[in-house]
Symmetry: C2
Subunit: 152 residues, 2 copies
Amino acid sequence: MMNDMTDKARPDCNDPFIEALERLIVPMGMPPIAARMQGYIMLCPEPVSLDEIVDGLRVSKSSASVAARLLERYGILRCYTERGTKRVRYGVTEHCAGFLLEQMRSIGTMAALLRDAAGARRDDAVTARLKDMGAFYARVHTALEGVLSEGD
Amino acid sequence: MMNDMTDKARPDCNDPFIEALERLIVPMGMPPIAARMQGYIMLCPEPVSLDEIVDGLRVSKSSASVAARLLERYGILRCYTERGTKRVRYGVTEHCAGFLLEQMRSIGTMAALLRDAAGARRDDAVTARLKDMGAFYARVHTALEGVLSEGD
DNA sequence: TGACATATTCGGTATTCACCGAATATGATT
DNA sequence: AATCATATTCGGTGAATACCGAATATGTCA
């Protein structure tokens, strides 16, 4: 039975790391509460319950629930359940790799879009440019794949 | 004196590439008109004027101006001026590298945030985790730097 | 300097997003 | 099946974003 965190181990919701992470990933499309939650849970030594997140971040239960589900879907958080209770806890995945996987995925998608667009074009200069870009993005995608699989 | 594009060479604003690119980068925080403009200009053989963009994408002149400036700031478009006229034209940069540079930059920033946060932590398990993550993100950043400089 | 062409800024408006608390759904136990 | 604890969904509301057209700024030429 995991204990709730003592006040000493509980992150401060105004921690500079949380604020900096929010400034980094919110402009990238991450909703604000999800961003802060990611930062908060990254600073927690153990997985935390929704109620602890609610207390720690001072947000509504429903907002916490929605954000946690989103982060789980992105591979940033992992959900832990427990026999005998409906309560769940969320902890960070290894490396919060969701952040990197999402970027790798978008680069791979871009490479595919460019390759498809090159196949559809009729102007030679545009076709050549799209092919060149597509190959470049594919190279970057392959490199990312390599370094991300080494990290396992 | 560059001629305006003929109808044959002018991209269709409903081109599948433009729509797919919009679906990819708008959720990443790119404003919709800027996303469509990027796709449109990537399909143009030559740099295009704001009026051509307005006609091609069916948006207001002011929206086109704001979006073009934003894409220029992101390193995705390049602005071409011409003696004797105030008119400007926008064309894509090499590889639209702004997309990749921005991702590399965010990974580098993440590595730095983690390193700083590890230095500030007092719980050993959290410190170790942040250090490990920071090193991982730094490795990915370095690999991206490598492959992006080869692309030049 | 004035006229004109062009880009940019500004304020208004509609739409979307973000967040909340209430209502509802769900899981566990007796 | 009833009860309770917990998570999730839903609808309302305010804030932020997106886009427009008018107003303004800016560059060029005579």
